[in-house]
Symmetry: none
Subunit: 197 residues, 4 copies
């Protein structure tokens, strides 16, 4: 609000989070394309063009929003990865976290898959890196399981992707066969059974 006083980097950063936090909610409701900068500005309570101080572009807001989510997911997942538990248990816990994230952000990730094509190459690349990072955490558990002869020798990355995508079938169905937890339970069970030694 004060004019003429430069924002410290911390303030800048904080503001980005503030904006993104609000923008995410609007995106969830209306989709990325369906959300106007004006709406975001109003919701945040600042001028339209001040947004451009924090984000050079509308795209950047989406990218940042998604990154933020994925980073949190990665952080939590890394915590689980480091626990002293059998690989299959860690996998299950990890997927529980994952499911919770997806449920929270529900449509946000859905929109991502749609609108990502319209983003510029650089943004796409940044998001991809995060996605890879997450996949790699899951992969590392599977690899560990393989090396400890918990799991059969499968391609760990391929399996990780398989597992991650399996969760989607639980989230986006309009014809559920039970609670998300029940479906999740069965899905993970099939997967683990499938790669079990």
């Amino acid at each position: 609000m004060p004019k003429g006083i430069p924002l410290t980097p911390e303030e800048q950063s904080q503001r980005r989070f503030e904006i993104v936090g609000i923008a995410k909610n609007i995106f969830k409701e209306k989709g990325f394309q369906g959300t106007a900068m004006r709406e975001i500005a109003e919701a945040v309570g600042m001028g339209k063009s001040s947004l451009y101080e924090s984000f050079k572009t509308k795209d950047e807001i989406l990218v940042f929003a998604l990154e933020e989510e994925v980073l949190q997911l990665i952080e939590q997942s890394q915590g689980i990865a480091g626990l002293d538990l059998p690989p299959d248990i860690r996998l299950k816990q990890m997927m529980q976290i994952y499911l919770k994230f997806m449920q929270t952000n529900n449509t946000l990730f859905l929109w991502l898959s749609v609108e990502v094509h319209g983003l510029n190459a650089e943004s796409q690349k940044r998001l991809q890196e995060k996605r890879y990072a997450y996949q790699d955490i899951v992969r590392s558990i599977i690899e560990e399981g393989i090396s400890k002869s918990f799991f059969r020798k499968v391609n760990a990355l391929n399996a990780a992707r398989l597992l991650i995508n399996s969760m989607l079938s639980i989230l986006y169905t309009s014809r559920p066969t039970g609670s998300a937890e029940e479906m999740w339970d069965e899905a993970i069970e099939i997967f683990c059974n499938g790669i079990k030694m």
Copy 2:
């Protein structure tokens, strides 16, 4: 092209396919929202407004495109479902077909599950029905396998969705671990192993 002669239903239909065939390619590249009617018209080689003779609405083009694909998929899948082969073999063949379809239509299918938001309710319902129909074919095989004690007792619909979605992980990865066939092979193997008796 002839001017005052009514198009026969066949010609009408043929033209719809022609338009959709071209539109699909543009959609794949730019997304549905990112594609302007003008672009489609130009690509097809007709006037903007002539499109509207064949499709009352932009939405209709997408719906038709998706329906067309899914209907073909359903048809071919039903053929396989009726074969006299063990359930797991039929499942594998079915997924092979599915994968081929996905490869041909690339991002288009992704939208089936996704860009569909934003279409009017009726279009959504029509597409959903097709999706259900396809899921049900896969489900029926799994159910059959369960009743013949090939497979464990799992929720067949849940498992079917799981399997179908697993294929996505093969298609949309930008970090493949082998040829699509190799990834597919492993995915289906994990799944079948996972539900095997």
Copy 3:
């Protein structure tokens, strides 16, 4: 319907009436601008471009429709003008006819006043002539009344226009104070009283 056989002038004329008869009804409902040539063609049961055989332009249909109505009105009014009755009685009868015409064509005439501005000069002129012709009939009665000392010496054309326009207030009100007949009764009474000797 038969192809290649020239239409006789009578047939041509008859078709114009047929088209206009139907078009008028659509105009009444949707206004002139709101009516598409396609609609008219469909309602008449002929091809869009065949309309252009009978009317070179959409405008012409409106002009013809209005002319037709006014000509009928003129004809009937002339009949009354020639009767052997006191001028005020004839005036009253004439206005009764007028009111009936307006009621029948309701919005048609209303639209005229609006859309007439978009018509080309020639069409406007043609309609104007008819309007003048009608005004002159009413005027002649008033003049006669003046010369026979039924009425005071007023400008007859001015008075005629006044009377004619008075009827509008009855037709287009959304806050009627009684039946159209009652309002008409009072209006004409005020007018006649106003010009009475």
Copy 4:
């Protein structure tokens, strides 16, 4: 013109008047439907989309234009209604004002009664209220005249409408019988004579 400074309500209002002032002239020439937003923008000297800052909709421009006029008319008429003069004199003065307004706004007022069809219900209602308000002022004078035995016992609202509409005949004739004032003089005289005791 200054870029980042919010327009004060006064400026906002002033701009609306500026736009409407120009738009009215174009409307008069080409009609409402016949006028494109682009034309208005160009005439005002601003970008097409800037219009939408002042008016959310094309309709709103027309409604505002009409309301503005009628409100002024009402205000001035109320002034006259409150004068200490015989009812017929006030009626005459009121009609003089009315005529002047009509002359200034020419076809615009015609639309008030007419082009209004096609506007959304709410706009129609707003305009109708204003029209009623004006009619009621005229009516109240007539009622007063009746109660003071200046006028015969007629339906005051009906008579008011009659009088108001009579003025139209003066304005929209293309075959005048004298100056507007002369025609007006005769019209009002006939009317007053018509309802005189």
